[in-house]
Symmetry: C2
Subunit: 152 residues, 2 copies
């Protein structure tokens, strides 16, 4: 599937604000409702638009600590990795987990209320996983940028 200039304009708008009405979009890109509607539906159907979500304010929810954890496993084989992955998927405080190249195995991003919660998470949830060998933590002091907008 090829995205033409109009598709990209629509995607750029919807990435920033999914609550724009079709009419708003139509006006912004000088089209009528029909093509905008059809294109959005097509983009949804093709899976280019994966989902629509609400972005909540961490601070106002009392989530005041973000950390990156570099995790090394005891071994790199399939079963060990899969076991670890499954545990991570069940940890709601882990918002990001990627298997990476380099001197460790996984890069995690974790969001928590405070340091005490992190201590608990580290001791009672992450470090006790049988697959985990090493954890190296970096604490976020200040968030410069955080966006769901992809460059298109």
């Amino acid at each position: 599937m090829i995205l033409d200039a109009t598709d990209k304009k629509i995607l750029r708008l919807l990435q920033e604000d999914a609550h724009m009405t079709l009419k708003d979009i139509a006006n912004k890109i000088n089209l009528s409702l029909t093509p905008v509607h059809d294109r959005v539906k097509r983009l949804e159907k093709e899976g280019i638009i994966e989902k629509y979500v609400s972005v909540l304010n961490k601070k106002k929810l009392g989530i005041n600590l973000t950390v990156y954890c570099q995790v090394t496993l005891i071994k790199q084989n399939y079963d060990i990795s899969e076991g670890f992955n499954q545990s991570i998927l069940n940890f709601p405080e882990v918002v990001e987990c990627n298997f990476v190249s380099g001197s460790f195995d996984y890069m995690l991003k974790i969001v928590l209320p405070d340091m005490e919660s992190y201590h608990h998470f580290h001791q009672k949830k992450l470090s006790i996983l049988p697959e985990v060998s090493l954890i190296n933590t970096f604490f976020v002091i200040s968030e410069v940028k955080s966006t769901t907008v992809l460059p298109i």
Copy 2:
């Protein structure tokens, strides 16, 4: 502002799918339209709900490479940091940038079409910033988890 159980239920639903109708939400949590509408509006007004966005599919947009960069600045003072921050905000491929504690200064997450694009980004955009002293890159081999859903 205190969130009661009903607010949290609404937030949990909207975090996963912002295209649920008020009626859908009302049905799921056994309420009528009015309180759901009023609560959502209040959550928006208070800034608990920050925005609504569309999540796009990286792969289908030809974005096949994700990397983490650990960046060290030449100095840690305010002007140097601010200069760096401003540049980062203007780089659309940088989707995440956090000032962190530890053996380097910033943790970046960058999304790009391929290795060639990363080479270009590294050489022509990141490493030439006057504030940057050191860059350490980790390539994502496989994405295990990536969510905008906060634990509430």
